[in-house]
């Protein structure tokens, strides 16, 4: 190959790469701008979300508490609280529906929860510092709408001694630059290897940050459950004790 051609190709490649990364950065910049700014988001240390879950035609009040990596989701019905699940930073636990007692989850599940919650308050915040990789995979229609497809790859899971990819694909609406759909691979269990889809909408401001107030989880194209959030409180004091496994 002649040197001139080589240089030309090299430049093309380089320009292309720059254009790509700029676009990804642009998408993320606009995203953060639209949801309240990186600075405001990085100051979020806890959230309390109150709303209701709609699943299989039934509706239950729910409270979701987040404080750093600690997280607790509880539902109430018939005056009783069911935790599904809670993570105290080390251990995941949940209520057994038969005896209504708290039981610890399998150790691997705790690791999965950790990976899920350690991104609080936002997975894309300083993602490079966290050792994550983000890639722009192009455009695709999701929810009938033209979207940017961004893949965020985190540290792999180790499941049954085997390393498994830990990635989520975010579909950023090209008009609003917020994710309206995410797809992540179910890491274990009977549906291992399939996509779990989460659809987000009703973005609204609360305490200076814009959150999706409607979250629907889908599997095989069918709705599994929807959460309608009524209230989001930011940086409310949450006692660490609420996350701790209550014992037998």
């Amino acid at each position: 190959m002649k040197l001139k051609n080589f240089v030309f190709l090299f430049v093309l490649f380089f320009v292309n790469t720059v254009a790509q990364s700029q676009t990804l950065d642009e998408i993320l910049n606009k995203y953060f701008e639209n949801i309240g700014g990186r600075e405001a988001i990085s100051k979020v240390s806890s959230t309390k979300m109150t709303g209701k879950v709609n699943a299989q035609g039934m509706e239950f009040p729910t409270v979701m508490l987040s404080k750093g990596v600690k997280n607790k989701i509880s539902f109430s019905f018939q005056g009783m609280e069911f935790v599904q699940p809670c993570f105290d930073g080390e251990t995941g636990w949940q209520t057994n529906f038969m005896n209504m007692k708290a039981e610890k989850m399998e150790k691997e599940d705790s690791e999965l929860l950790k990976s899920q919650f350690e991104d609080f308050p936002d997975a894309f915040l300083k993602y490079k510092d966290k050792g994550y990789k983000a890639e722009l995979l192009g455009s695709e229609t999701a929810e009938g709408t033209d979207c940017f497809k961004v893949k965020l790859t985190k540290k792999p899971y180790i499941l049954s001694g085997v390393e498994e990819e830990n990635a989520t694909i975010y579909y950023f609406d090209k008009e609003n630059f917020v994710p309206i759909l995410t797809k992540s691979i179910i890491p274990k269990g009977p549906a291992k290897g399939k996509y779990q889809e989460t659809v987000m909408s009703d973005y609204q401001e609360s305490g200076g940050i814009v959150f999706p107030f409607s979250i629907t989880s889908k599997f095989d194209g069918q709705i599994a459950a929807s959460i309608s959030i009524e209230k989001i409180e930011i940086n409310v004091p949450i006692d660490d004790a609420v996350f701790i496994f209550p014992g037998e």
């Binding site: 035609g57 005896n99 309206i180 290897g193 409607s214 194209g221």
Partner: protein, 1028 residues
Amino acid sequence: MRNILNLFVLIILALKPTAQVSIPVKGDEVFNSLRARQIGPAVMSGRVVDLEAHPTNSRIFYVGSAGGGVWKTINGGITFSPVFDKQVQCIGTVKIDSNDPDNTIWVGTGETWTRNSVSIGDGIYKSTDGGLNWQKKGLEKSERISDIAIHPKNSKIVFAAVLGALWGDSEERGVYKTEDGGETWNKIFYVNQTTGCSDLIMDPSNPEIMYASFWEFRRNAYSFNSGGYNSALYKTMDGGKSWSKIHNGFPAGKLGRITVAVAPSNPNRLYTVIESEKDIDKGLYRSDDAGQNWKKVNGDFELVIRPFYFSRIVVDPKNPDVIVKAGLFGYMSKDGGNTFRSIQGGIHADFHDFIFDPNNSDKMVVGTDGGVYRSWDGGTNWEMVKGLPLSQFYHVSVDNKNPYWVYGGLQDNGSWMGPSSKPGGIRNSDWKPVGYGDGFRVYPHPTDPNTIYSEMQGAENIWRVNVSQSLAKTIKPYKEEGDPKLRFNWNAPLSNSLHSPDRVYVGSQFIHVSDDKGETWRKISPDLTTNDAKKQMQAQSGGLSADNSGAENHCTIFTINESPLDKNIIWAGTDDGNVQVTFDGGTTWTNVRKNVKEVPQNTWTYFIEPSNFDKNTAYVVFDGHTQNDMKPYVQKTTDGGKTWKSVVNSQIPVFVRSIKEDINNPDILYLGTEWGLYISFDSGTNWTKFENNVPSVAIHYMTIHKEENSLILATHGRGIIIIDDLNPIQMIKSEILEKDFSFVNVRPNIINETVIFQEFPHVGEYTGDIPTTQARIVYYMNKRHTFGKMTLEIFDESGNKIADLPPGKSKGLNEVLWNYTHQMPKVAKGKTLASGGFSAPKYPAGKYTVKITKGNQVYEQDLVLKYSDQSVISETERKIQYEKSMILYKMSEQLAIEVEKMDLLLQTTEEIYNKTLDKKVQKKLNLSGYKKQLEETKEKMVVLTGDNYVGQAEPRLREKISSLYSEILSYPGVPSNAQLKNIEVLQKEFEQIKSEIENHVLTAKAKNKLLKENNILNRILSEPEAKP
């Protein structure tokens, strides 16, 4: 001037019918939550062409099917998931990259078992995430990819064997190599336009060594040829740069299909099965020196039968002497091919591929014309996989039962009938067989649901089946005196009539009609075909191995279709390209094919759709694939066949087999193509693909259920697929697409009252989807809702809000489901859960209002709930049930309030008791005695011990109310007398408790007085709402 004006008007009028408004629609922006449902079945499954085992993990293997895509199991074969739905469903080969076996998978499309009904592929695909996503990696024109070989050290180096076109010459055949993971390919070995690569095997110990067999073959609509002087077995020792024939010991003369296998545990041991000119030479050959010399070791029937259809040898990964050959059944040798035993195990015939478990050769899997089977004992016994809905329907029809049943015949799997819906899902066991052999067209009698007609290949038999009595009478027409031999297509036309219930049509080269359900027949047409003698030599079909199955019968009628508007208009299409029509019930026939200008001569007339709206309008589907022409051809006439114009364009990528005109809107057309369903909203000007749960599967036939307004697809590889309600599609018009928001009128919402009895999970067995039993709210939005609040509320006729539902936010069609039940009643807090807290009465039939609020926009629409016309329960009965269950509903809520009241009394009593240290005061107050009384009452109200399983406590009032309430709710009619009496018993019990509580409150008030007198500021709560 007036004349000019008249002329102008005339011109305008003349233009009007063709001035079609163009409605370009993008399916992925419009259809969204409008989904088809798949009902399978998997009871007979379908043709499996290739299996691929993970090299080390025996939990994972892949199934490649003839028409149903690629399926993956991650649990050793208990459950399977389709991983290739968006791509072409006709598979040639699946290959795992051993360098990255968990993630990198290649699929070569296009089946290589080249029977008459085989479909086509469109290239090679690669996944790098275990099958979740696929990228097309070229070879688009290959049509059939037989093998893929991947360099064991370098994933970028991949070889693809292209068998190529079945119905024509092709330069795409041969061995291709990529060195950049599939971005670019080079053809590194090519023989000629008629001879393709049928096997490509890499030496497991040396990737420079490969074996490639080449096969000279050709099929057309009326014959098949296997063999020629170009079929050969080649070897390369330099990674594909040079190839040489390795025929030392091979028979002389023409050769046919040659299969080759290398023993993984001894790469010098090779096996080949050769189809040759002389029968005596046909059979299994073995080489012990890596192909330098060959010796015939066996010529048994199973080794030589139908090489075009069964041609695979698999060697045990651990033992070079153990081989299995796919054939009519399985055939296994344990002594290097000298002797064999059958391993059929009583399962479906026509084996195509095997895999051995990489860690235990006793565990085997086989793919057949009837799905996948597993063996744990080296192939002696087999167990069927019941979760692979690969059923290959040729046709579908429906009846008018409620729910309606579907009927159809399948490739090598007989004819079946099954319900379109069943509480809990449609199980394999819900399907009933109604024919033998290969099944094709099945029709129910239009007015007698107990009578159906079915057939087998080439109309060898046509049955009238009495379903309830399990009786079948052969009713086929026979040749009458003076008749020539009757010629029936493999897939012979059989149908009932839209106008005369007892009429049956059958097509040979003539149209035969019976008006007494097949007892007597008369011909109503002359020979409607070209009757070309050159195309009637099927007895000589097969090439080196004669194959006269009837599959190549030609110059036959293929489709017979009555006009729904006029019983005297009958259209008939022939496999050799004629389009015949009669307007006088069969007295005179006109071949209008000469008027069709845009379609090549003799292109198969596959289907004719006479219009529902106009007698002179019809659509004709021509299928050219058996002439190596994969283009779509659909022609429309509006003048009874005099002139024609195409209604398809380049948006349709492949040939078509069926079309349906919508029953409400003639501008809407549904197109069944070889690669999925397409819909046009503007009479064929624009087309868009419908992908929501309809894979890119061959759709051989479609029908519309008029009463249900449903579209039913007969797919050749993924069973029956249904779009239940066409209303949302029928409403799509330009003005709707432009509006911000539009509600869609859906078909009536019928209140579901059926009970679903306990069924245990049938893990691994396929269950077909059923239509939702909930009420549907459907709307179209031309923009996705992302920012701000959007709500969906439902109001009753008095304007009370009765439900809040999460609305769909997608651009396009959104479907929201409402279960038309009250909110669950409030239930008293106890130690355990009460069943009544999970059930609530259904709202009665009537008119409701749906209100969607999106920012400051409000959209409202009526929603009507109805009871089923078939229900045996009267309005009065339902009213009683509703009233009685509401009594218990309210009792449950009242009890919850009373329990709260009691809890407050108990709580404050205890607090004061704990704080009151003065013994004298304590004695005077007697709080411990009061507390005990309160506890005794509460114990009658709700259980305070036990759990939700076997630790259940003795039921208290809450549990008794809850049980009775749930039991009354479970039946939509009048509660039993015992139940009604029991309500009274519980009411009395509740009254008794209430009076006890009243006494406790009075006592509390008295004690409050005492507390005050003793200067104790706290007080027992006698009013629940007042806080201390």
